[in-house]
Homo-oligomer: 482 residues x 2
């Protein structure tokens, strides 16, 4: 914990080395406690949600809200404006572990840093697993439909949102464009997790949603670049747009083409290795390299790990790898969803704050456009008879963290009014939390019985044994297909 | 990455929110790159070490040195006195990812923070796995021998080291006591990993080494408290010693007694859960709670996770849990060993620095005492005919990070001369790196053939299938028993 020594000028109670050791162990203690809170919340929330027939991930999000900045203040992050005194875990550490009050801020900052990266690794592993569960051929088969859905799903909410805000609320054009842009995003993390939990990832609908969400992410960064340069310089930086378009497309196409070559190399390497981790270490190395490349070309890191998963799904080691990724995902993914909930500040719904009251009408408008815009998008699917168009539209609803990125950039340029900011946050929260139950509703119940499920889980070899030979929802536990 | 905004006063190129987002993604990119370096190093080093018949973990340590502060500077940490300009990964991020030079220090600090905690989680998971592979009854059966080994292994090197330094080198008494104390530690992480890799964890020798290393850790914190209060106040704080003794003993005894009760509760909870992670989440929650408790009473966190593993080894879910912990350990444990190597500054061996030359003779003395003191300790084992006493002594040799904690406290009080500091560091490095090959040497070869091993690994179900029904070295891959 050199950090505290170089960046803070507290009166150090001991000399450097001793303090470093103490400090680093305090950060570890804080992270351990936070993980305990996250795991308890994820299991209590997930199980309760599952009992009432909703996707477990909804319970994890809600449980995150309960332990987070809007609830018990066990899990709070500095960017919510919270400081260390607002964190119950820090208070707990001071009473139980003798954490020095002078060192609290440094420990809090370091703990938040670590949890943020762990949650980002969580969603990277989630998309890697989703990629392993998906199949390039299936995705390509619905490629045209997914592309149409993605484009319509960007254009429709953007146009309706921007025009509506200008016409109905007299919002200035640049601000209206920002709000409209925030309506275009799709949170691939939440949507893919729910689909996986419902056992629908490999259905035609699931593949279209997933493909469209990926393309949406690419469109999203382009919309973002356009809108940001518009706000900053008053004009669109066409060179940047072209650069983004080319780099993103070559990344996606390149990873599929090169993947064919690499998947053979991967198997050859894994077969040569004779020490532990002979499969997971090469697989995660590849996943992290792809995530890094995606991040470098300004795509999201999760698109890289998704592509890595898709590539490795083509190899003979697929089944064995899927089995080994399960416990890693089980431990990392809840960190992402619980912290998304914990970061959600419901203060925006508090009617005592004037901006919230003013924002409420705009929020109702934005939420309507957000939901109807994407549901209508589902109708654009053509050429596949008897497809569940409603489910596809609903699958595109959650805006999640992507919507908040738009908001962040918009806020920083100062074009958004307080009520409009509040309205955008309300829209993001509601679409994120409504999507899981809505998706559950539009996908009809599979025909499992509970008795079956219990036998399958506790037959000694555990749920993992189900992975082999099951083509649908290969990695999700049987209970979650309920 | 609020951190950079509140603690650094760089001229921010954009407004707050936009910078935060960019910064956090840079930290993620830096962590992803570091993990790629760690995984490549661990596999190259581990495989090469395995090929020449040595434990893979030695290769991971050496590969860590190669990529670390003494080698390629890919993986450096601030506490080694390195700053961000010494990190090749930071340079790489500046050229490939457009990392802003003004933000480099903040990203470097955050990345080091995250990697430090990940490596600590790595050794926590390692000891959890070792606990799952061990058996309370087997440990208790050799409890008396382990206790004797631990006590002799603390007293002998301490007395010989302190007396020798005073008599031969005219070192002042307090400094000699510190150096003597640094000789008492045993690195449970390195020793248990090597034993596991050699398939000797569940041998009588392995159980005695493990038990003695645990007791050594308890004795170590007491010696540390005595020595530190001696240096600071010139007298021993007897109250603190008694407190440490009572809390440590009650923790170890309490976790075994309460474990009997809890293991039933654990199984009952796991059976009730119907969503993913029904086994790993409760298990890791328990492990982290125990690690936290151990850290709070000033024991090491790893003793807590070891106790948690021991307790859960008593449950019916043991086999299933061991299988699921394997990939998690495979991904986290190498982070620990590679960073231990990366932090090792071989500059201390550079004869161009006067303190190193002066320290060299003392280092030769300390290393001799460190090795002979522990080897002689093995002779104290009684009552078990035909036991490999040499192997037990050799198993206690590695000082690892524990020795460095003594050094840190010693340095901070200012009683250690530069040559003596250098000598202690040389002793820690050599005992740590010598122990794996020595252990390999004192444990005779098992009778596996290479052909067997390859068939076992790539029979479709992978190495994990071997877990069931194998009582010896249950969790290690067959190749590592070679």
């Amino acid at each position: 914990m050199q950090l505290s020594l170089t960046t803070f000028s507290f009166p150090l109670p001991l000399l450097a080395t001793a303090t470093e050791a103490a400090d680093s162990s305090m950060v570890l203690a804080a992270v351990l406690l936070s993980l305990v809170v996250i795991y308890l919340a994820s299991k209590v929330g997930g199980e309760l949600s599952n009992r009432i027939g909703l996707p477990p991930v909804l319970g994890e999000l809600v449980a995150g809200v309960v332990v987070g900045v809007s609830g018990l203040h066990l899990l709070v992050f500095p960017e919510g404006g919270a400081n260390s005194s607002g964190s119950l875990i820090m208070t707990f550490l001071q009473t139980t572990a003798g954490l020095n009050p002078d060192a609290v801020d440094a420990v809090f900052a370091a703990q938040s840093e670590v949890l943020t990266i762990l949650s980002e690794l969580g969603v990277i592993v989630l998309l890697f697993e989703i990629g392993l569960e998906s199949n390039i051929k299936d995705l390509m088969a619905v490629g045209i439909q997914a592309t149409v859905v993605a484009f319509v799903g960007v254009v429709l909410p953007f146009a309706a949102g921007t025009a509506g805000l200008m016409a109905l609320f007299n919002i200035p054009v640049v601000a209206a464009i920002f709000a409209g842009a925030a309506l275009t995003a799709t949170s691939i993390g939440i949507t893919s997790k729910v689909l996986s939990e419902l056992g629908r990832l490999n259905s035609k609908e699931g593949q279209i949603i997933l493909g469209a969400a990926v393309i949406d992410d690419v469109l999203g960064i382009i919309v973002l670049a356009v809108v940001a340069s518009l706000a900053k310089e008053g004009m669109v930086d066409l060179g940047k747009v072209v650069y983004l378009l080319i780099s993103a497309t070559s990344f996606l196409v390149g990873s599929i083409v090169l993947g064919k070559v690499f998947s053979n190399t991967f198997v050859a390497i894994a077969k040569k290795l004779k020490t532990r981790g002979e499969l997971v270490i090469p697989a995660f190395t590849f996943s992290y390299v792809m995530a890094y490349l995606a991040a470098v070309i300004q795509l999201e890191a999760i698109l890289g790990s998704f592509a890595a998963g898709l590539v490795l799904d083509e190899t003979d080691e697929r089944v064995q790898l899927q089995k080994q990724v399960i416990p890693v995902a089980d431990l990392l993914v809840p960190i992402f969803f619980v912290t998304v909930g914990a970061r959600t500040d419901l203060g925006v719904l508090n009617p005592a704050i004037p901006a919230n009251r003013e924002g409420l009408v705009m929020a109702i408008f934005l939420i309507t456009v957000a939901i109807l815009g994407k549901v209508a998008t589902g109708l654009s699917v053509f050429g596949i008879p008897q497809i569940n168009r409603l489910a596809i539209g609903v699958g595109m609803i959650p805006r999640g963290e992507v919507g908040l990125v738009f908001l962040g950039i918009g806020s920083s340029t100062g074009v958004l009014s307080k009520p409009l900011e509040a309205a955008i946050i309300m829209m993001v929260i509601l679409t994120t939390f409504l999507a899981p139950p809505l998706l559950r509703f539009v996908f009809p119940e599979p025909t499992h019985t509970t008795a079956d499920t219990e036998n399958l889980i506790f037959d000694g070899s555990g749920s993992n044994s189900l992975v082999i030979g099951s083509s649908d929802a290969k990695v999700s536990s049987p209970d979650e297909r309920e």
